[in-house]
């Protein structure tokens, strides 16, 4: 029969427990909160810099959002960012329109038609596509796609079309893998019930699984859109960077990320021109936050971090 442990031993056990439980717990909790705090810190810094356009330089927010007049180096400068905003919206919407049908088809193939080929061939292929750096996408756009567009459709080649095609390729893996996840997450009962009613595989996929997987697919589409909206260098390399609203697909244009990339290095900190670029960065941050909220409401409740 063992004696009850003395106070000294108990104290040591408590110390051991304290060290190994609370220290570890405190540490990981601290880092978890730090990570979330980082976002707030970034939002705070960008807000301070971005709002100085309106508070210090007295540019009207309405002019910034809705005017197409961009002449930052004129005697009476104008800071209308509408051209860049429209450019970003056009490019990413077009990319989405090109990419989504192919993404959903590939997701159907991976999840429903041939899971075996999907796992062995397409999944690795998608992962490689995700891993390819954006400058490499930009460079292939610049060295292959732009000359091709110039030869086939005339114009400079640097165009809205080139930007959208490059972006479409870049967001394809994002949408595909999230859509495939959405199909895979559906209960087997759905398929079996549909087959039992005599439906063919395509009828099952098209009429039963696609509608059921729609929330997950939409999440993928929104996250793809978010990626397209924020992409900088790949787009900047192929859209031509002409400050105007494009009239047709083969016109050169510009977007938010491109103008930030190009002008940030040429403008002095604290000048209104520079401040406006920070306002655009703030706008990008707000938009990607909106996309996250949208992805959360369209998709079913997701448990893990992303």
């Amino acid at each position: 029969m063992a004696n009850p442990p003395s106070r000294k031993v108990l104290g040591r056990i408590n110390l051991y427990y304290w060290k190994h439980e609370n220290l570890g717990r405190g540490l990981v909790t601290g880092f978890g909160i730090f990570l979330a705090g980082l976002t707030l810190l970034m939002a705070g810094f960008l807000a301070v810099k971005g709002l100085s356009t309106f508070l210090v330089d007295h540019v009207s927010p309405l002019e910034f959002l809705f005017s197409t007049k961009w002449s930052p180096d004129a005697d009476v400068p104008a800071f209308g960012a509408l051209i860049f905003i429209v450019g970003s919206i056009l490019i990413s919407t077009l990319a989405l329109l090109i990419s989504t049908p192919f993404s959903i088809s590939t997701a159907m193939f991976v999840a429903e038609i041939s899971p075996n080929l999907g796992r062995k061939v397409l999944q690795p292929a998608i992962e490689i596509f995700v891993g390819i750096p954006s400058v490499v996408y930009g460079w292939i756009g610049l060295s292959v796609l732009v000359p091709f567009i110039r030869r086939s459709f005339g114009g400079l080649g640097f165009s809205l079309l080139a930007g959208s095609l490059v972006l479409a390729l870049m967001i394809f893996p994002t949408i595909t893998s999230l859509a495939a996840d959405a199909f895979r997450a559906l209960p087997t009962d759905f398929r079996e019930a549909s087959y039992a009613l005599g439906a063919t595989r395509w009828q099952t996929v098209r009429k039963v699984l696609l509608p059921a997987a729609m929330p997950g697919i939409l999440t993928g589409v929104v996250l793809g859109l978010a990626r397209a909206f924020g992409e900088a260098l790949a787009v900047q390399m192929v859209i031509g960077n002409m400050i105007r609203i494009p009239g047709k697909l083969t016109d050169a244009t510009v977007n938010l990320t491109s103008i930030i990339t190009m002008d940030m290095g040429n403008t002095a900190t604290g000048t209104p021109w520079n401040d406006v670029l920070w306002s655009m960065a703030l706008l990008l941050l707000m938009i990607s936050f909106l996309f996250i909220l949208l992805a959360r409401t369209t998709g079913q409740k997701r448990r893990s971090l992303k």
């Binding site: 190994h20 439980e21 570890g24 717990r25 990981v28 601290g30 880092f31 978890g32 909160i33 730090f34 990570l35 979330a36 980082l38 976002t39 970034m42 810094f45 960008l46 088809s105 590939t106 159907m108 193939f109 041939s114 080929l117 999907g118 397409l122 992962e127 490689i128 596509f129 891993g131 390819i132 750096p133 400058v135 490499v136 460079w139 292939i140 610049l142 060295s143 439906a199 063919t200 595989r201 395509w202 009828q203 098209r206 924020g230 900088a232 260098l233 390399m237 990320t257 930030i260 990339t261 290095g265 960065a281 990008l284 941050l285 990607s288 996250i292 959360r296 893990s304 971090l305 992303k306």
Partner: protein, 300 residues
């Protein structure tokens, strides 16, 4: 009869179309990789990979850029791996469901979807202007860390969560404390997944450019590769010097256009980046399989 046959025919057509789309996608990837390896083949030699770039003449290499990319991934990994795994542990094991956790998750989701140029600008503000460091490799590494942290935290969380509940309960039932269970049971079982996440994040950091334009800068000082003193200004190991990486270099020679052989250099450097992506992918697969076997069969 017609009505009964039509769905079957539609089914066949649809199946064939889906095969076609999937096949086209794989072909596209093969063409993509093949194109770069083919067009960059003449540059994949010792001289190109290890010599200094030229400023206005043809025939320059990418030696310092390649080194900077690798060193930057390494530095950023030193910071992001421990913090990312710790945050992953917190969200998998300690975070209680509720408003606060929801809010924290929302913040991190936002962080992981921020455009990399925005992260770069934040890095410019904090690690370049506020600290007074100017353009430095360290500033770039810290900015890339911000990009990587959510990736590593998420994959770590997923990996820890996918460890079977019975293993965890077994450990607790044997009298192990929660922290002991996490460190000695959950982390080893989750290792394949965690390592995969780290490699994916490293691959992303290796090819990142938008974040680095205004943090690590678009130039590299003359480096003396025989000088390994990390405080010396010409030492490659000095983290407080401007450091143009490979991806930034591709962008720069295309927008500046000073070197006459920009096209060959960009082709060669892109081939290197593509090869690195393939290597990172293979490494992730290989390691996760190896570790999965070693630490007892949990899913990776």
């Amino acid at each position: 009869m017609r009505r009964r046959i039509r769905p079957q025919i539609t089914d066949r057509i649809a199946t064939a179309t889906l095969y076609l789309v999937a096949g086209a996608f794989v072909l596209l990837l093969v063409a993509f990789v093949g194109y770069f390896l083919y067009s960059g083949r003449s540059e994949l030699n010792f001289k190109f990979l290890f010599t200094e770039p030229a400023f206005s003449t043809a025939g320059g290499g990418i030696g310092p850029e390649l080194f900077n990319s690798i060193y930057l991934v390494f530095l950023s990994g030193l910071i992001s791996v421990p913090i990312g795994i710790a945050a992953g542990i917190y969200f998998a094991e300690y975070a209680k469901p509720g408003r606060l956790t929801d809010f924290l998750r929302l913040s991190i989701e936002t962080l992981s979807s921020l455009p990399s140029i925005v992260v770069g600008l934040f890095g410019f503000l904090v690690f370049v202007i506020l600290t007074g460091w100017k353009f430095t490799l360290m500033g770039g590494a810290l900015a890339v860390t911000i990009l990587n942290l959510p990736v590593i935290a998420r994959t770590s969380e997923d990996a820890i969560r996918s460890v079977p509940e019975s293993i965890k309960e077994g450990s607790l039932a044997l009298g192990a404390t929660r922290w002991q269970t996490i460190v000695r049971v959950l982390l080893p079982s989750a290792l394949p997944g965690i390592v995969t996440g780290i490699i994916i994040a490293s691959g992303r950091a290796f090819g990142e450019a938008a974040t680095l334009l205004y943090t690590a800068g678009m130039s590299s000082p003359r480096l003396d590769f025989t000088n390994w003193n990390p405080i010396s200004a010409t030492s490659p190991l000095n983290p407080f010097r401007p450091a143009e990486t490979l991806a930034v270099y591709i962008w720069k020679i295309n927008s500046e256009g000073l070197v006459p052989d920009a096209r060959q250099i960009a082709d060669g450097a892109s081939a290197v980046l593509i090869l690195a992506v393939l290597a990172f992918n293979l490494l992730a697969r290989f390691l996760s399989r190896l570790l999965g076997r070693r630490f007892g069969g949990s899913r990776s």
